[in-house]
Symmetry: C2
Subunit: 147 residues, 2 copies
């Protein structure tokens, strides 16, 4: 468990991997993003994506799962408050195997919440070819070490 004082810019964390198949892409889409290019191979072929593609929000959710399962353990949990950037440079495809590389960019105490602070992290989610499928810069709320 890491308190605010334990974080420093430049620290890195690499997650394990997670494979995404067509069934998972469609199941997420059916619940949260029911657009043809996330649900059906034929419809996807004639879309912007040119083939079945995961919802960006599915990629974001899988990124969170990889991060929670990694050794990244801020005190109090991984609590995102505000993202400054979230982009999907390319879609996640059926069969992709993803992992996440996280890097601490900035650490600062909160001006309004005594005993708490913010750790700004960039998480890059990569496929099996090392191509980024998501870049997220998120501010996490982290507790200071109890005195």
């Amino acid at each position: 468990m890491l308190y605010l004082e334990d974080f420093a810019p430049g620290q890195k964390q690499v997650s394990g991997t997670l494979r995404v198949d067509a069934a998972a892409i469609k199941a997420f889409a059916a619940q949260f993003d029911p657009q043809p290019f996330h649900l059906n191979e034929d419809a996807a072929r004639s879309s912007f994506f040119g083939g079945l593609a995961a919802s960006g929000w599915h990629t974001a959710a899988l990124t969170m799962r990889l991060l929670v399962d990694s050794g990244f353990r801020p005190a109090g949990g991984i609590i995102g408050t505000r993202a400054e950037e979230l982009k999907w440079p390319r879609p996640v495809r059926p069969g992709d195997e993803l992992h996440v590389e996280a890097e601490v960019l900035e650490v600062r105490p909160s001006s309004s919440r005594p005993g708490q602070g913010f750790v700004k992290c960039r998480t890059t989610t990569l496929n099996q070819d090392g191509e980024p499928v998501q870049v997220l810069v998120m501010n996490l709320l982290v507790h200071e070490r109890p005195r």
Copy 2:
């Protein structure tokens, strides 16, 4: 179906509503964000959240569902490329009833992709008390009208 030329800053869209219960919060968390405060009422009580709270990524996914089900119909689909802001001012709680208010902020043609452009939207997700639970500023890829 709306092409790039049909969008203008200030246009607004309001979604229907969607109720979130504890079972849905825990099911999403078990799959994508298995942290105690999203999974278990007792563990959540002593956490930062003070009670069961939905994962922010669950809130984001529900926001997408509300947007897809609304009358918001860009040509080619709702394709987010890059968010400039994503924040969760307060958590979604069991029993919350959410809706989304979307507003077009900016419309611009793409400099690199002929026939396409970007519509920057702010979507604000609100609970039954009118309190924002998520604010997202997203750039959508939208096709120009075929000539």
